[in-house]
């Protein structure tokens, strides 16, 4: 027999693991440590950065997943973020009494329906958007960019028309307000919640992608759409499902961000879209893990630089993006097929 004979019992060769990017957020935090006067400030900044990073990750993960699978970059993703936040105000403002009550259960009874509504509405809008707006332009990048950008503007203007141009306050529920102390560092409760929610979303996404059949199909679709189709799976259903999930994640991120800022306005979609883009580019278009690391990097860097040299905070994102792209021109974890 020839040397190419394959031993049927042997395991498939494992993809080489690339762990260097994983170390970057930790390295960044450690580099910042000596520059910051007290370790308690450093801890506060780090937690704040982690919380912000998790929120950005929740918003950005949908975008990168949609791009990875469908090769569609949705410039309208920011609109879903803003719509999610506005939907939350629809529930939370009438329930202000429950929000202010000093009971965790009443708070939850207000926040949970708000999240369900936000996620539901953005998910359904995602369905409509994919079917009506994006389907005719699959495979045409130029038109996709123009049309989804147009969709973003129309959605933003509709929010202005329906909800008015003013900012809508969105106070945190009573049980999530305030902070607790670790040593001398003050840790805001809501930031811890954000970190937990973000981690949960990340782990859930990893579990779905790596442990379920749907996840297998999605990963296969990212690698080679036509092959998945040729094997008899309806790729369009997968597309719709992923688009809905991605939009719903944007809605969830919008609610989290709205509560974090304690206000909502229609321009937030456009502002966050830019941040989300930077994160997705840093991570490598289409990569969920890359997006996670990118979000943490951007948020940590913004927090540290904002504390040390506030003037430079404006261009931290861009500088970080340039640095990463100089190192890895296609992002931290480039997706092979794109």
């Amino acid at each position: 027999m020839s040397a190419t004979d394959i031993d049927a019992g042997a395991a498939l060769p494992k993809a080489p693991r690339d762990l260097v990017p994983l170390l970057l957020p930790a390295a960044l935090a450690l580099i910042a440590l000596p520059f910051i006067p007290s370790s308690s400030t450093w801890l506060t900044l780090t937690i704040a950065g982690l919380a912000m990073g998790m929120m950005i990750f929740v918003m950005a993960s949908g975008l990168t997943l949609i791009f990875g699978l469908m090769d569609v970059l949705n410039f309208g993703h920011g609109a879903f973020i803003a719509i999610g936040a506005y939907m939350a105000t629809l529930v939370l403002l009438p329930l202000t009494g429950w929000m202010q009550a000093d009971s965790v259960w009443l708070n939850l009874a207000a926040v949970l329906p708000a999240i369900v509504l936000a996620v539901g509405v953005t998910g359904l809008l995602g369905l409509a958007f994919e079917r009506v707006v994006i389907m005719p332009v699959y495979g045409q990048h130029l038109k996709q960019i123009l049309i989804t950008m147009g969709g973003m503007i129309v959605a933003e203007q509709l929010l202005y028309a329906l909800f008015g141009p003013q900012q809508i306050p969105l106070p945190l529920p009573a049980s999530l307000r305030g902070s607790f102390a670790i040593g001398e560092a003050a840790i805001e409760k809501y930031r811890v919640v954000c970190v937990l929610v973000g981690l949960a979303v990340f782990l859930a996404m990893l579990a779905v992608l790596n442990r379920t059949k749907i996840g297998l199909l999605i990963r296969a679709g990212v690698e080679n759409t036509e092959m998945v189709e040729a094997l008899g799976y309806r790729i369009t259903r997968l597309f719709v499902g992923v688009f809905m999930a991605g939009s719903a994640l944007a809605g969830l991120g919008g609610v989290m961000w709205g509560l974090y800022r304690e206000q909502v306005n229609a321009a937030m979609g456009g502002e966050l879209l830019v941040l989300v883009f930077i994160v997705v580019i840093i991570g490598g278009l289409g990569s969920v893990s890359g997006c996670f690391i990118g979000a943490l990097l951007v948020a940590l860097a913004t927090n540290y630089v904002g504390f040390l040299v506030p003037k430079l905070a404006l261009i931290t994102d861009i500088a970080l993006m340039v640095a990463v792209l100089l190192w890895r021109p296609r992002g931290l974890y480039p997706v092979t097929s794109r």
């Binding site: 503007i153 028309a161 830019v274 278009l285 261009i315």
Partner: protein, 353 residues
């Protein structure tokens, strides 16, 4: 000499429309006297050159940039800051241009080399990020740019509205510094337009179109796609900066709203798409229609909105409020990308041939 570089309108209706527009703009100070009509005419000239330079990217090279207003702003701020700090002198304008045009070109070169290697989508995302960072930076560096308030400045005496060259003798209209500024603007914009027309009809322009149609094939034929795309980006940026400088001279003011705002980016996109991507004449038609609509239809929207409010119709007053101008533009934009990707000029040319 071939002023049109051999690229004729190729449609009777289009030729007539273009002639009307050009003659109208050339004689605007005398045909439409008054401050507002002259402002509209100047804005049309500016948007024609600006949209034409953007079309070099979007229509001819097939890349989407969201940073065109950034370059426009670099030109505007260059001249504004120079005139503001050195006073109303011609050499200040020269210095401003001497700094602004190369910086715009260098910025475009950096962005291009950095992001045009990979994918058009990448370029679109990065230009969006860089442009928004630049806009924030410009409004924060208030010692230099005047922040949100921008900079008011004086222009050299020849260009000032108070300078009267011929009092009320030319067709009953006085020739003032304003008229001179308008003609400066008109001539420069026309020259820039003809330059762009020359570029897209040159061998270089043909290669750009080949890259737009099929980058792999163009690369296989031996053309360096990255270099061509980057050069197109640099050229478009330099023209945009020059137009920005002209606009600053006309307004005698530069601020974030007049030079860097995302709304201007949308205006340009819409003009190019409605006029027709990949036809520079589309910029003329699109800019004229768009600026006229913006100046006269927006007022109509206000009337509709008030009427709907008085009639007690729900929601319509908000939807037709003049501030919601962008809503209707956005819808129009999406519909035109779907149904008229070749725009007005494309339609006219097809119906002729």
């Amino acid at each position: 000499m071939m002023p049109l570089s051999g690229d004729r309108p190729r449609s009777v209706i289009l030729s007539i429309a273009l002639t009307l527009i050009v003659v109208g703009l050339a004689l605007a100070p005398f045909l439409f006297p008054g401050a507002k009509p002259l402002n509209v005419a100047a804005k049309i000239c500016i948007f024609i050159a600006l949209a034409a330079s953007y079309d070099l990217l979007l229509g001819y090279t097939g890349v989407v940039s969201f940073a065109h207003t950034m370059f426009y702003g670099v030109g505007s701020y260059g001249v504004a800051i120079a005139l503001y700090s050195l006073g109303a002198r011609w050499d200040a304008i020269g210095l401003g241009l001497l700094i602004a045009l190369p910086s715009a070109a260098l910025l475009a070169l950096a962005i291009g080399l950095f992001s045009l290697r990979v994918q058009t989508i990448f370029f679109a995302m990065i230009t969006l990020a860089v442009a928004s960072a630049f806009a924030v930076l410009a409004s924060q560096l208030s010692w230099l740019t005047g922040g949100e308030d921008g900079r008011n400045f004086r222009v050299p005496e020849w260009l000032q509205p108070g300078t009267i060259f011929i009092p009320r003798d030319v067709l009953g209209v006085a020739v003032t510094g304003r008229t001179v500024t308008y003609y400066l603007l008109f001539v420069c914009c026309a020259a820039l337009f003809l330059l762009l027309l020359r570029v897209v009809n040159s061998p270089f322009g043909r290669v750009l179109q080949a890259i737009r149609e099929n980058p792999f094939r163009a690369e296989a034929l031996g053309y360096r796609t990255v270099i061509h795309r980057t050069l197109a980006n640099v050229l478009a940026a330099a023209v945009a900066a020059a137009v920005g400088a002209l606009n600053a001279l006309w307004l005698r003011y530069t601020g974030p709203d007049t030079s860097l705002s995302f709304a201007i980016m949308l205006d340009i996109l819409l003009i190019v798409v409605i006029g027709g991507m990949g036809t520079l004449y589309g910029a003329i038609i699109g800019a004229t229609l768009y600026v006229l609509a913006q100046n006269y239809l927006q007022a109509l929207m206000g009337t509709v909105s008030t009427a709907a409010a008085e009639a007690g119709v729900p929601l319509l007053p908000q939807l037709f409020h003049p501030d919601r101008w962008l809503l209707w533009l956005g819808i129009l934009f999406i519909l035109s990308v779907y149904f008229f990707p070749s725009g007005i000029v494309g339609k006219l040319r097809r119906s002729t041939s």
